[in-house]
């Protein structure tokens, strides 16, 4: 592994919870974009962005999926902001055992936002394009980072499987299934 410094474009979605109107169009279009073939199906449960919302408490927090976490946090805090109480989880982007968001409903594998990476590149991720309320704003900034290997999507998935079942079972299954083909 090479270690060095390089400039990297960091893509972010700035979230304005005051502007969210809870329509969940972001979830709809995200899951459609990531379907295979593209847009052929739609299911918010597969979305990599979810609106954590409790309408009667006026809580609306769009959160997009970040890293997979194997274990849940030891302590979970509560925050009071503008008189409204939020669970820490409301702001957390992890796919973790404490909740059922950001997991493929069929396999249970973690989901992660890829900023709608595609060829040709989109001007903005689809969730941002479909948020007419401007609760989601796309931003890019340059950052200097340590260079490292990029972890491919398949590795994230495999690691999660290994956490769940152990490496041996995953390897056995892979060997068995590849023999079948």
């Amino acid at each position: 592994m090479k270690i060095g410094k390089k400039t990297k474009t960091v893509k972010t979605i700035r979230i304005d919870v005051d502007k969210c109107n809870g329509c969940r169009a972001c979830e709809v279009i995200c899951s459609a974009f990531h379907a295979t073939p593209k847009y052929s199906s739609n299911n918010p449960e597969r979305a990599r962005i979810r609106v954590i919302h409790y309408p009667l408490r006026d809580l609306y927090v769009p959160v997009y999926a970040g890293e997979y976490a194997a274990a849940e946090c030891a302590g979970r805090d509560k925050y009071t902001i503008d008189g409204k109480e939020y669970d820490e989880c409301a702001f957390c982007r992890a796919s973790c055992p404490s909740r059922d968001v950001f997991k493929e409903p069929d396999s249970g594998l973690p989901l992660k936002c890829d900023m709608c990476e595609s060829d040709p590149t989109l001007s903005e991720p689809m969730c941002v394009q479909w948020c007419l309320a401007d609760a989601l704003i796309y931003e890019e900034r340059e950052e200097e980072v340590e260079e490292g290997e990029t972890q491919e999507e398949i590795e994230i998935g495999l690691k999660a499987m290994a956490h769940k079942f152990g490496w041996q079972k995953v390897l056995d299954a892979a060997a068995r299934m590849s023999n079948k083909d």
Binding site: N21, Y39, N43, I52, R57
Partner: protein
């Protein structure tokens, strides 16, 4: 492979506790799309006219629209169909919100409920797992209160819930079904739900909805999104603010209520208050709304913000939309603060915000005129606003006079007698209407009021401007990008339409034009009610993103059906005629088809008769408003014609045999 729809209905028999997942016939989708269309077919087949609203044989259908659950922007409606206890006809109330998409993700196009549970229960649908659960601990709870308790019980904030309050449990004939952000209120469907012993339906779905031609479909969705944005930035000039934009009238966002408060009638739909909207009132009401409204909120997958969260100190938070903002205020001749306060109680009780305030104002008028006395209203408060709370409490509990009032003004007047029917003056087909009392007969509205099967004007009117524009220049400007009209004749009628003189109401638009305009507006609603599209982005506002020229491709790209304007028009016609046929079979006739006597001051009986007769002919209905054998056959509704002949509703008109019989 089924596209846009799941291909399954969920059938629940509450008498036997039986639950079945039933495959649906794809041929029915081709004939009736979904939503209201297929609901009407099921009701026609399974609910004969002898069935009473409150009986185990009456069905209560919660249907998703055909395109609900796809990325079709603003397509999220639940169409609830049953027999109305108040009208005895088909009630097909609808709601937006999040219920229908969740039901579709759970794997069902419809939930069909029959039977009657001996104990109060709720239904829990979690994908393939469906349970009938005890709800005895929810008895008497408010609609939102019960929904929150269920959500905690199921420990999942993503569960969507439709529930009834006390009014539904006690079978108030204008009880609603509430869903937090939205409600299905008209026709007393909440009472049918209560009669079935069903307090709530909780649903959570995690499955996929597929579309047939994804690339084409999503491109159209993107265009709709862009059009909405453009349209939001460019309101239509020359019309009042609430009609200038898209969505349901933006009552929650817009403070200017001059139009409603000065043109709609106050009290028991009696008094117009010219000059009411002063600077002082505006300041006061704006302050009320701004201090109580915490957020503007949307329905599923829609950028419009037609609803709002309302938090009043000392009361639980609730959500509101549209004209319910003013119905209580105006019925009680009060102010907005009172209106928002009592609407909170009314939402938890679960009553229709059109009927309930009018029933209360009606009772008050009866009291003021000595028809109801202190004996009927023991301990009736002195204070006007307290009286409304007092009446509401008694109606939803069916206590004392509340028992009669709970059936609505028509039936309450029948029961009270002593000339009370003079005060139940704002009904069509026994159902309370918008509190509107106007001057000059409007031919378009005359036909819509008379013949609308929804029995509710806001679900029939739409794409044609409600009134002429003042100058010809303004009209020409409006016509420039009016792509939604079916053909150029509609522009001509609008261009020539004047406020005064020869080319003004009641004689202009002429009879032919009036028929065409009413037919067009109605047709767009029937398409929406089948696809589950919100009228607010389609059939209701001026210049909407969805219209007759793009909907066929849109529906086709989602479902894979072959469709063009002609075929879609034919389907809409088929649905419209089947809904009418259902009501005809239940006894509806020409005598029932009329607006309230006092809706307009200036009436023209001859013109009105000619309008109605012409419209019947235009629609292919006979002089009683019954679809003829020939027009039924043309619409592949031969099975309706056959039953009409068997029942003697139609006589064989020698126009040929009953052909094109379609009975899948």
């Amino acid at each position: 492979m089924r596209y846009a729809e799941t291909g399954f209905d969920l059938e629940v028999d509450l008498t036997r506790g039986n639950i079945e997942r039933v495959v649906t016939d794809p041929e029915l989708t081709k004939l009736y799309l979904g939503g209201l269309g297929t609901n009407a077919k099921i009701l026609w087949d399974r609910v004969p006219p002898e069935v009473e609203p409150f009986s185990p044989e009456n069905l209560l259908i919660f249907s998703t629209g055909l395109l609900v659950g796809t990325p079709a922007v603003g397509c999220n409606r639940t169409i609830v169909s049953t027999i109305s206890p108040q009208t005895g006809l088909m009630a097909y109330s609808m709601m937006g919100g999040f219920f229908a998409p969740e039901l579709k993700y759970a794997g069902y196009d419809k939930l069909i409920i029959r039977g009657q549970s001996p104990d109060l229960v709720y239904l829990w649908i979690h994908d393939d797992k469906v349970e009938i659960r005890d709800a005895s601990h929810l008895r008497g709870k408010g609609s939102l209160e019960a929904a929150e308790m269920i959500r905690q019980e199921l420990d999942d904030p993503k569960v969507q819930i439709a529930s009834i309050g006390l009014a539904g449990e006690n079978r108030v004939w204008f009880a609603s079904i509430e869903q937090g952000r939205s409600s299905a209120s008209r026709g007393g469907i909440g009472a049918v739900m209560g009669d079935k012993g069903l307090k709530a339906i909780a649903v959570r779905g995690t499955g996929d909805v597929h579309v047939a031609r994804p690339a084409e479909f999503i491109e159209m969705c993107n265009e709709v999104m862009q059009y909405i944005q453009k349209r939001n930035e460019n309101p239509i000039p020359g019309v009042m603010p609430i009609l200038a934009g898209l969505g349901s009238p933006q009552e929650m966002a817009i403070h200017d209520e001059k139009w409603h408060t000065e043109n709609f009638a106050w009290g028991n739909s009696r008094t117009r208050r010219k000059g009411f909207w002063t600077e002082e009132v505006e300041k006061d009401w704006t302050g009320t709304m701004e201090s109580m409204r915490t957020r503007l909120v949307s329905c599923h997958n829609c950028p419009m913000k037609c609803g709002a969260t309302i938090s009043i100190p000392g009361r639980p938070t609730y959500m509101m939309k549209c004209f319910s903002k003013l119905t209580y205020t105006m019925a009680a001749m009060s102010d907005l603060e009172f209106g928002l306060n009592i609407a909170q109680a009314a939402t938890e009780y679960g009553v229709d915000a059109f009927s309930a305030p009018q029933v209360m104002a009606f009772a008050l008028e009866l009291y003021e005129n000595g028809i109801l006395t202190d004996d009927d209203l023991p301990d009736f408060p002195e204070d006007n606003e307290e009286r409304f709370f007092w009446l509401l409490d008694r109606i939803v509990r069916r206590e004392g006079i509340g028992d009669a009032l709970a059936n609505g003004t028509y039936w309450a007047a029948e029961e009270i007698g002593k000339g009370a029917h003079e005060y139940a003056h704002n009904n069509i087909k026994k159902h309370e209407q918008l509190p509107l009392k106007l001057g000059m007969l409007n031919p378009i509205y005359f036909l819509m009021y008379s013949t609308g099967e929804k029995i509710n004007i806001t679900q029939i009117e739409g794409n044609f401007p409600q009134a002429p524009f003042v100058t010809r220049e303004e009209r020409e400007e409006f016509c420039k990008d009016w792509v939604q009209v079916p053909d150029e004749r509609f522009k001509e009628w609008f261009l020539d339409w004047e406020l005064r003189g020869e080319k003004s109401i009641p004689h202009y638009p002429g009879i032919e034009a009036t028929c065409e305009i009413v037919n067009w507006q109605e047709q767009m609603h029937y398409i929406d009610d089948a696809t589950g599209m919100c009228a607010g982005l389609s059939s209701f506002p001026l210049k909407p993103p969805y219209h007759i020229h793009n909907l066929p491709t849109f529906i086709s790209a989602a479902t894979g059906m072959e469709l063009d304007e002609e075929r879609l028009t034919q389907i809409a016609k088929r649905i419209r005629n089947l809904v009418r046929a259902f009501n005809i079979r239940r006894g509806m006739r020409k005598k029932d088809e009329k607006p309230p006597e006092d809706h307009w001051k200036r009436r023209f009986p001859e013109l009105e008769a000619e309008l109605l007769d012409s419209y019947y002919r235009f629609k292919g209905w006979n002089e009683q408003g019954i679809p003829t054998q020939e027009s039924l056959n043309d619409l592949s509704l031969g099975f309706v014609a056959e039953e009409f002949l068997e029942r003697g509703i139609l006589q064989d008109d020698d126009s040929g045999e009953v052909t094109a019989r379609v009975e899948p």
